[in-house]
């Protein structure tokens, strides 16, 4: 199944599972529900949102690591803890977007992440 929302294509079994779990008409709506619920639980009502706080609420170490790397960012599990690594040459704003993207992975997957997830060829032209 393929979803096209906001110019992006959402296509995966996980996306469909998310849509069904949230009882939403579209994957985008389901994603929004999931994020809003998390933000509400943290009393985050007005942007800019505190990404380290959101990260810690989904089980990610809130100190993001900026380092030399090819990808824009990735989430890694070291010693049972999840870390977000960000490309050190990217602008702060782009790093922030990448961090949000990685948090989204963890928010959807819960504790299922076993290996490394990264934002590299996902679509580098789109922020």
């Amino acid at each position: 199944m393929v979803y096209r929302q906001h110019g992006m294509v959402w296509k995966s079994v996980l996306a469909e599972q998310l849509r069904q779990a949230e009882g939403a008409a579209t994957v985008e709506e389901a994603a929004l529900h999931l994020v809003q619920r998390k933000l509400n639980s943290l009393n985050l009502n007005h942007p800019p949102f505190d990404l380290p706080l959101i990260a810690s609420a989904v089980g990610i170490i809130p100190e993001f690591i900026s380092k030399s790397m090819t990808e824009s960012g990735r989430i890694v599990r070291v010693g049972g803890k999840h870390h977000i690594e960000l490309k050190n040459t990217d602008s702060k704003q782009r790093q922030r977007f990448t961090a949000a993207h990685e948090i989204a992975h963890k928010m959807i997957d819960g504790t299922k992440i076993k290996g490394t997830k990264h934002r590299s060829n996902y679509d580098p032209t789109i922020e």
């Binding site: 110019g7 990404l51 602008s91 782009r94």
Partner: protein
């Protein structure tokens, strides 16, 4: 979904659009308020706005033989925008592009945009020299917000 985590969702953006209207300055306001890139702000605002609008990310192509020209690296377009835009369109004739490269200011022009030899639209352009990303590379180019397209001529 990363956009939602940054607050770039309808419930936060629509009130700003209703209050300020769609413009280059509104996108910059969201960029600064939400602490996101201009591109992330532009995509969210443009996709949510009802006005016919688009944002072009343009770079200068150096060509010693045929002369330098501007090309569209990427773009974002509102649903109600009246014509198709193609990425990699080059030899853009817009005065705002040349003027923006020579200035740090926001350049405003009203210019004609001829589409596929079928129609010409009179559009309002707001252009500024800025950095953006193309294929993971940070490049300096000109970002152009296009608004208020009106058919100025139907070509035969």
């Amino acid at each position: 979904m990363g956009s939602f985590i940054l607050g770039l969702s309808s419930d936060h953006i629509q009130p700003i659009l209703a209050d300020r209207g769609y413009s280059f300055e509104t996108i910059e306001h969201i960029q600064n308020t939400f602490r996101v890139s201009f591109e992330a702000a532009a995509r969210s605002v443009t996709e949510l706005c009802d006005d016919p609008a688009s944002v072009l990310f343009c770079s200068l192509i150096i060509d010693a033989i045929n002369g330098n020209s501007f090309a569209i690296d990427k773009f974002v377009v509102a649903q109600s925008f009246p014509f198709y835009i193609y990425a990699k369109t080059w030899r853009l004739p817009f005065l705002c592009l040349r003027r923006a490269t020579q200035s740090d200011m926001l350049i405003r022009t009203t210019e004609s945009w001829q589409i596929d030899g079928t129609a010409s639209y009179q559009c309002e352009f707001a252009a500024k020299r800025m950095f953006f990303y193309v294929n993971k590379m940070r490049v300096e180019g000109v970002i152009v917000v296009v608004t208020n397209p009106k058919v100025s001529d139907l070509l035969k």
